[in-house]
C-alpha cells in the first residue's frame, strides 16, 4: 500500500495548556502513524481514549476513534480487536483513568496479552478535574483533595505491568519526542499487549519538566537487554515514582513474544 500523506488534524479547537506534555505525545503518535503508513493504512488505526485531558487527543487526530468512559478504554479496545483483528487499536489513557478507575482492566489486558497498545499520559495528577492527587503522585503531594499532602505512596506501573504478564513494557518522556515516537512505533508493531508509561509534565498542576530533564536516561544507551525479564524488573525498580531525584530510565524495558488473546480465543 502506498503511503498517502494525510493531514491528521481534524481542525477541532485545541484546549490543552501551552507547553502541556500532551502536545508532544500527540506529535509523537502522529509522526509514528505517518511513518507506519507504508505498512498500515490509516483506516486500520483506531484510537480509544478514556476521560481526562489526555482524552481530547481523539478530537484532534483525524483517525477512527472511540471516546470511551473514564477508565474503560481497554475493554472497549479489546472488543474492537475481537470484532476485527486487522485493526491496530491504540489506547490513550490517563494515570487517574487507568491506574485508579480502570486498573482492573489494565491488569487483565496485560494478563490476556490482548493485541492492543496502551499509551498512558502519566502526569501524576488529576488535571481536568483541577488538581487532585493521583495513583502515581508522590507521597505528600499537595492537591485540592489533599491540601496537607497525599497520605499514600505511589504505585509503580512498570513493575505492575511486568508482573501482570505484559509482553511489551516501556517508558517514554513527553519531552523527548523522537525517542517517544520510536517507542510508539515499536509498540504498535509489537504483536501482543504493549504498554508505554509516558512521563508527561502538567504545567498547571504538576510541572515535572525539570525533574525529568535532569534525571531521565535512555536504557538503550546503556545496552539494556529487553529480553531479560529480571533485568527489566530491576530497571523498573530503579525509580519508584516517589523520590524527587535518582536515575529515571526511558525506553523499552521488556519485550517478549507470546500468543495473543485474539489468537487463543479463536
Amino acid at each position: 500500500m502506498k503511503a498517502v500523506k494525510k493531514s491528521l488534524y481534524t481542525g477541532a479547537e485545541i484546549t490543552w495548556c501551552r507547553l502541556c506534555g500532551n502536545f508532544n505525545i500527540m506529535s509523537a503518535f502522529g509522526w509514528a502513524v505517518q511513518e507506519l503508513a507504508e505498512e498500515i493504512p490509516y483506516e486500520n488505526f483506531v484510537m480509544v481514549s478514556g476521560i481526562g485531558c489526555h482524552g481530547k487527543i481523539v478530537d484532534y487526530i483525524d483517525l477512527n476513534s472511540f471516546y470511551s468512559l473514564h477508565g474503560r478504554a481497554l475493554p472497549t479496545a479489546t472488543g474492537i480487536k475481537l470484532a476485527n483483528p486487522e485493526l491496530k487499536v491504540i489506547c490513550f489513557v490517563g494515570d487517574g483513568d487507568i491506574y485508579a478507575e480502570g486498573i482492573s482492566h489494565l491488569i487483565f489486558s496485560a494478563k490476556r496479552n490482548t493485541d492492543i497498545t496502551v499509551i498512558v499520559h502519566n502526569n501524576r495528577a488529576y488535571s481536568l478535574t483541577t488538581g487532585q492527587f493521583a495513583p502515581t503522585s508522590p507521597a505528600g503531594f499537595k492537591g485540592k483533595s489533599t491540601p496537607y499532602g497525599s497520605p499514600e505512596d505511589p504505585l509503580n506501573p512498570l513493575t505492575l505491568m511486568l508482573s501482570s504478564g505484559a509482553t511489551f513494557v516501556a517508558r517514554g518522556y513527553a519531552g523527548l519526542v523522537d525517542h517517544l515516537k520510536n517507542i510508539i512505533k515499536e509498540a504498535i508493531i509489537h504483536k501482543g499487549f504493549s504498554f508505554i508509561d509516558v512521563l508527561q509534565p502538567c504545567v498547571a498542576f504538576y510541572n515535572t519538566y525539570e525533574l525529568y530533564n535532569n534525571n531521565v536516561y535512555r536504557l538503550e544507551d546503556e545496552g539494556h537487554d529487553p529480553t531479560d525479564y529480571e533485568l527489566a524488573l530491576s530497571k523498573a525498580k530503579e525509580w519508584d515514582y516517589n523520590t524527587e531525584g535518582g536515575r529515571i530510565g526511558i525506553g523499552i524495558f521488556y519485550k517478549v513474544s507470546k500468543q495473543t488473546f485474539e489468537e487463543r480465543i479463536g
Binding site: V58, L82, H105
Partner: protein
C-alpha cells in the same frame, strides 16, 4: 386418550390409592391426565438431571411437560428439588401440591410434608421410615451422581413406563455401563402404580428460556457473547460457550461486568453484533456504559435475568423487581427498548428481534427475563429461522459523519477499516462528525436528534407484532394484567376462571394505548406480579392504567397454579 382408557386408568388409580376424581378434571369426552412429581434431595445428587431426563421421556411419549427447578446457592448439601408436571394439554406452570413425591434423603421428607395431599404417593430412601411410603434404594445402589439414574428407573416403573423408554438417555451419560446397571436395578426395585401410556408423537422439545435466548440471539446474527458469571443468566454463557464453534461465534468472560459491557460496545463499534448477559447486580455495574450506548448510539443487547433482590438477595430464586430499574437505569436522556419474554418461544423470538432492533435503531435493547423463565424446562416446538436485517449503512457519498442528521434520527453506519472513512464515536456530546461540542445550539441539536430517533422507534415498535399478548377469555369484564414469566401460570388457569389476560411483551416504549383499548368494558382488573412494592402497578399507573387490585408474590418462588387459582377464586 380414549374414554375407555381413561376409565380404566381411573379405576386403577382409585383402586390402589383412592385418588379422588377431582384430581383429574374432565374435559369433553375424555379426561386430562395431569400429574405433578416432586423429586427432592441434596445439591449435587443429580436431582436436576433426573428431572430433565424424566421430562425428555415424557415429551417423547406425547405429553406436555413443565419442570420447575428449586435450588439454593450452594454446590453440595442443602436441599434441591424439581417439580415435574406433565399433562395431555399444554401446561406451563407447576402446582404446589404433588401427586408423587420422591424424597432421596430424610430432609426431603420434612421439606415436602406440606406439598403432599392425602393421595400423594411417597417414594423415599430405603434408609428412612415413613408409613405408607414406598422405599427405594437411592443410596446403596447409586451414590453421588448416579442417583439421577436410579431416580429415573424408580419413577418410570412407578409410572408404568417401559424400561426401554429411559434407556437411550441413560446410555448418553458418562460411565454408561455403571449407570445402566443402576437404572435397571432401580427399575426392578419398585412396582408399577400408574399407567402412563404413549399418547401421541412428541409435541415439542424440552427447553429452558435461557437456551431459547441463546438460540434467538444466534439467529439474530450474534457474533460475540460477553458475560461475567451471574445466576440466573450464566446458563446462556455456558450454552453458547459449549456450542460456539457450531454457531460460529466468540464467547468471552472478562474480569467484571463493567469490562463486559464496554467490550461489547467495542465489538459493535467495529461492526459485529454483541450481546451481554447478567442479573440485577451486574446490570447495576453496567449502567454507566448503558448510558454510553445511548449517547454514542452503539447497538447493544443486554439480557437481564432477574433474581430476588435487593443486593445479593436470594441469588437462585426468581423475582420481577428489576422492572423499573431496567426502564430507568442510566444517566441522561436516551432512547432504549425493553422486552419481556414469558416463555422460551417468546424468549427465542424476542432475543432475535432484540438483536435486529438494536442495530436498526442503534440503541441499547434490554431483554428482561428472570430465573423462572430462564431456568424452568418447558415443552416447546421451536421453529428456528435465521433473520438478520441489514442495518442502515453509509452509501459512500460525501464525507462520512457518524452522527449525520437524518429525517428519522438514525445515522448511517460505517465501520473502522473501511477505506476513506473516519468513524468517530464519543461519550461526550458531539457534532455530526463525532467531535466534542459544548455550545448550546450543538448540544440542543444532538439531544433532539436522539429524541427524534426515540419517536421513530416508538412508532415502529408500537405497530409491530411484539407489543401485547392477549389470551384467555374473550369476555372483557374480568381482566388480568401481568408480565414476563407469569405468562405460564396465568394462562394455564385464566381461561378456566373466565379471565382475559393482557400481557405487554414490550415494556419500553410502553404500549399503553393498546392496553387501554383492550381494557374497554372491564369491570375487574387484577395485576399479577412478583415484586413486593408493585413495580408493575407503578408502571401501569404511570401510563394511566389503574388495576382494581394487585396480586403480589415476593418469596423468590413463582406463582404455583393451585395457589393462584385459590387467590383468583376469591374474585370469581
Amino acid at each position: 386418550m380414549k374414554f375407555f382408557g381413561a376409565y380404566t386408568y381411573l379405576s386403577i388409580v382409585r383402586f390402589l390409592y383412592g385418588l379422588s376424581v377431582k384430581e383429574l378434571y374432565f374435559k369433553g369426552k375424555g379426561f386430562v391426565m395431569d400429574l405433578s412429581i416432586i423429586i427432592g434431595g441434596k445439591a449435587g445428587a443429580g436431582i436436576k438431571e433426573a428431572g430433565r431426563m424424566l421430562a425428555k421421556v415424557l415429551t417423547k411419549m406425547g405429553y406436555h411437560v413443565f419442570v420447575y427447578v428449586d435450588y439454593p446457592s450452594l454446590i453440595r448439601g442443602g436441599h434441591n428439588f424439581v417439580t415435574i408436571r406433565f399433562s395431555e394439554e399444554k401446561i406451563s406452570s407447576v402446582k404446589k401440591k404433588a401427586d408423587i413425591i420422591v424424597a432421596t434423603d430424610g430432609r426431603s421428607i420434612k421439606a415436602h410434608k406440606y406439598d403432599a395431599k392425602d393421595s400423594t404417593v411417597w417414594i423415599i430412601n430405603e434408609k428412612e421410615r415413613f408409613d405408607g411410603a414406598i422405599r427405594a434404594p437411592f443410596k446403596e445402589v447409586a451414590p453421588g451422581f448416579f442417583k439421577s439414574s436410579s431416580i429415573l428407573g424408580v419413577l418410570l416403573r412407578i409410572l408404568g413406563i417401559p424400561l426401554d423408554e429411559g434407556l437411550p438417555l441413560i446410555m448418553s451419560l458418562p460411565q454408561k455401563e455403571k449407570n445402566e446397571s443402576i437404572y435397571r436395578e432401580a427399575y426392578k426395585s419398585v412396582r408399577e402404580i400408574f399407567k402412563v401410556k404413549k399418547i401421541k408423537e412428541k409435541v415439542g422439545d424440552v427447553i429452558t428460556g435461557n437456551e431459547a435466548i441463546a438460540l434467538g440471539a444466534v439467529d439474530g446474527g450474534l457474533d460475540v457473547y460477553i458475560a461475567y458469571p451471574m445466576t440466573p443468566a450464566s446458563p446462556v454463557l455456558h450454552y453458547l460457550a459449549k456450542h460456539k464453534s457450531d454457531f460460529g461465534i466468540k464467547v468471552v468472560q472478562p474480569e467484571n461486568e463493567i469490562a463486559v459491557i464496554n467490550m461489547a460496545l467495542g465489538v459493535s463499534y467495529a461492526g459485529k453484533r454483541s450481546m451481554v448477559g447478567t442479573s440485577g447486580g451486574g446490570f447495576a455495574l453496567m449502567t454507566e456504559a448503558l448510558s454510553l450506548s445511548g449517547m454514542a448510539e452503539i447497538p447493544l443487547v443486554i439480557y437481564e435475568a432477574q433474581r430476588a433482590g435487593p443486593s445479593t438477595g436470594v441469588p437462585t430464586y426468581t423475582a420481577q423487581s428489576d422492572l423499573l430499574f431496567s426502564l430507568f437505569a442510566g444517566h441522561g436522556d436516551f432512547p432504549r427498548v425493553v422486552f419481556a419474554p414469558g416463555d422460551p418461544q417468546e424468549a427465542y423470538l424476542l432475543a432475535r428481534v432484540s438483536l435486529n432492533i438494536a442495530w436498526k435503531f442503534q440503541v441499547p435493547v434490554i431483554l428482561l427475563g428472570d430465573k423462572h423463565v430462564g431456568e424452568s424446562l418447558y415443552t416447546v416446538r421451536l421453529e428456528r429461522n435465521r433473520e438478520v436485517e441489514e442495518p442502515k449503512l453509509w452509501d459512500g457519498k460525501g464525507e462520512y459523519g457518524r452522527y449525520r442528521f437524518s429525517e428519522d434520527g438514525v445515522s448511517p453506519l460505517a465501520f473502522p477499516g473501511e477505506e476513506g472513512v473516519v468513524v468517530k464515536v464519543s461519550s461526550y456530546e458531539h457534532d455530526e462528525r463525532g467531535i466534542t461540542v459544548e455550545d448550546a445550539l450543538s448540544v440542543k441539536k444532538m439531544q433532539e436528534k436522539r429524541l427524534k430517533k426515540g419517536k421513530f422507534i416508538k412508532k415502529h415498535l408500537l405497530n409491530s407484532n411484539y407489543t401485547v399478548s392477549i389470551s384467555g377469555e374473550k369476555n372483557p369484564e374480568k381482566v388480568i394484567l401481568t408480565w414476563g414469566s407469569n405468562k405460564g401460570v396465568v394462562e394455564d388457569i385464566a381461561g378456566k376462571l373466565g379471565f382475559k389476560v393482557i400481557r405487554p411483551l414490550l415494556l419500553e416504549p410502553f404500549p399503553s394505548e393498546r392496553i387501554k383499548r383492550e381494557l374497554e368494558g372491564a369491570k375487574l382488573i387484577l395485576s399479577i406480579e412478583c415484586s413486593s412494592s408493585g413495580q408493575f402497578v407503578k408502571l401501569l399507573n404511570m401510563n394511566g392504567i389503574y388495576p382494581t387490585d394487585c396480586i403480589k408474590k415476593y418469596d423468590g418462588r413463582p406463582f404455583f397454579s393451585d395457589e393462584l387459582e385459590e387467590i383468583l377464586g376469591e374474585y370469581v
